[in-house]
């Protein structure tokens, strides 16, 4: 039996690592999506932000984030230790079909890439006008403290500031529609409100000007990367693969994740076609992502048709939300607040329809808690940074593009622009 436990341990560890590598890959997805949807003069900077925020997230979560969220050691002290006897004892206690026993290093690896995902959401929304180093300073606090604290209340079951317990209220967020996506969107929204819109985005008479992204193949590639990575994001969140029941659960999660993405894309594309008269590719891409965000709060209990419907509604919502935010002059170049925030909330709210273990009350309190905490904490941090160093580039730098100002380097130096 010990060999069986060891194989189960190995299989579950590997499953975490493969899923984690897929989630890591989402960092490339966000980079390409954002690089495709900004203007070419701001492309080098958004790329720099994306690679740097990923590194910062990994570093900060390693230093203190994981410790705050899951009571581990500072700097992952001791994570390298392995004790076979302990592993076997834990497996024995859990039983073959019980809780998963797997390498804590694989757990960290899987968790760390989630932090980076949350942070990636922010970069898109504040693109084309935020200072690079101010953004990275925010990333340090967001990934080192703000997100881990919120994560400790949800996935680690701690009381919210010692006051109430979300789990007890029936809050459930399988893979993080709220904990990761809406959290990222809340931080983004705080930043966007303080930053203001890009120059020229809104005209004097309330008209909305289009600022087309420079490279749609990149944006499409980014969406496909995210779609693929999401199998790791949701699939890994079953947390165990190594018995038949859990394996089937993981498979259902893959199936439903894909169905929701497809539904979201179809919903958004059709709505855009009807509303605008054209097949708006960027809306279709946002729709696919919306489907993915919508299903993330609970991809294991819906049937395939339910998952398709949840995704489709997510895709419809995201188009409406994007148009609505434009009306409110909340300028989000890539639609991150709509995709991850508005649809993330929707995802949380539909969980009780298919998962009896969750309650509407729990979902609402949970959503308010996450949003409230991240939004307020982020506002404070953005404000401090604003006072100390400023968060917005100068008008001239914005006009010339932040690439030259911040990175000294053009993204497409040889190509002539219109």
């Amino acid at each position: 039996m010990n060999e069986i436990y060891e194989l189960q341990y190995a299989l579950d560890t590997f499953y975490f690592l493969v899923c984690g590598a897929l989630v890591m890959w989402m960092a490339a997805g966000f980079s390409m999506l954002e690089a495709g949807l900004v203007r070419s003069k701001n492309t080098t900077e958004i790329l720099t932000k994306n690679v740097a925020l990923f590194a910062v997230s990994c570093f900060m979560y390693l230093i203190c984030g994981y410790a705050i969220m899951y009571d581990g050691g500072i700097g992952l002290m001791g994570i390298e230790a392995f004790d076979q006897a302990e592993v076997l004892a834990a497996s024995e206690e859990a039983g073959f079909s019980g809780d998963s026993v797997y390498s804590s290093a694989s757990d960290f690896f899987f968790q760390v890439v989630f932090v980076a995902t949350a942070m990636s959401i922010v970069s898109g929304a504040v693109a084309e006008r935020m200072k690079l180093w101010s953004f990275l300073a925010f990333a340090v606090v967001m990934t080192g403290v703000i997100y881990p604290l919120e994560g400790s209340w949800t996935w680690n079951g701690k009381d919210v500031f010692g006051l109430y317990n979300l789990g007890e209220l029936g809050f459930s967020d399988f893979a993080g529609s709220g904990i990761v996506h809406m959290a990222g969107a809340a931080a983004a929204l705080a930043g966007v409100l303080l930053l203001g819109a890009r120059k020229g985005k809104y005209g004097p008479n309330g008209q909305v000007n289009a600022i087309p992204g420079a490279n749609l193949p990149l944006a499409t590639l980014g969406t496909f990367i995210l779609w693929m990575g999401w199998f790791g994001f949701n699939g890994g969140s079953v947390l165990k693969l190594g018995d038949a029941s859990n394996a089937h659960s993981v498979a259902m999660v893959f199936l439903n994740t894909n169905a929701a993405a497809a539904g979201g894309l179809i919903g958004a594309l059709l709505l855009a076609r009807i509303w605008f008269g054209k097949a708006d590719l960027t809306m279709a891409l946002n729709g696919a992502l919306a489907g993915l965000v919508a299903i993330t709060a609970e991809p294991s209990t819906p049937t395939a048709l339910q998952a398709s419907a949840i995704g489709l509604i997510g895709g419809v919502i995201v188009v409406c939300s994007i148009m609505g935010l434009e009306k409110l002059k909340i300028d989000d170049p890539v639609g991150a607040i709509s995709v991850h925030g508005v649809v993330g909330l929707f995802g949380l709210l539909v969980v009780p329809l298919t998962n009896d273990a969750s309650t509407f009350l729990g979902q609402i309190v949970g959503a308010l808690t996450i949003f409230g905490w991240v939004f307020i904490a982020s506002t404070v941090v953005w404000l401090v940074i604003k006072v100390v160093a400023g968060i917005r580039v100068s008008e001239e730098d914005e006009f010339n593009g932040v690439d030259i100002a911040e990175c000294g380097m053009e993204a497409y130096p040889e190509f002539t622009n219109k």
Binding site: V208, N209, A210, P212, F276, G277, D280, M283, I322, G335
Partner: protein, 112 residues
Amino acid sequence: MKLVTAIIKPFKLDDVRESLSDIGVNGVTVTEVKGFGRQKGHTELYRGAEYVVDFLPKVKVEVAVDDSLVDAVTEAVISAASTGKIGDGKIFVSSLEEVVRIRTGETGVEAV
């Protein structure tokens, strides 16, 4: 010497070049330009916001020729570039005081 400048529709470029060759013009200089005129631009859409692309792609063809050839060149351009639809473009004729071939230093008719 004269400089004949024609603003034409881009897809007519090859026709114009050929019809110029036919009347013995051996060199032209071509520039991508954008034109604004009676022909209206088109509307594009991006994430629900419409915007008008006012300026239409046009091509500017410049030919330096001897005075005697001006009419022939003008004719050739008109016949090759005309579609009868709005936006076909214009021809401008101006005077050149001097033309030099950089390679040889030749001037005037020799130079083109």
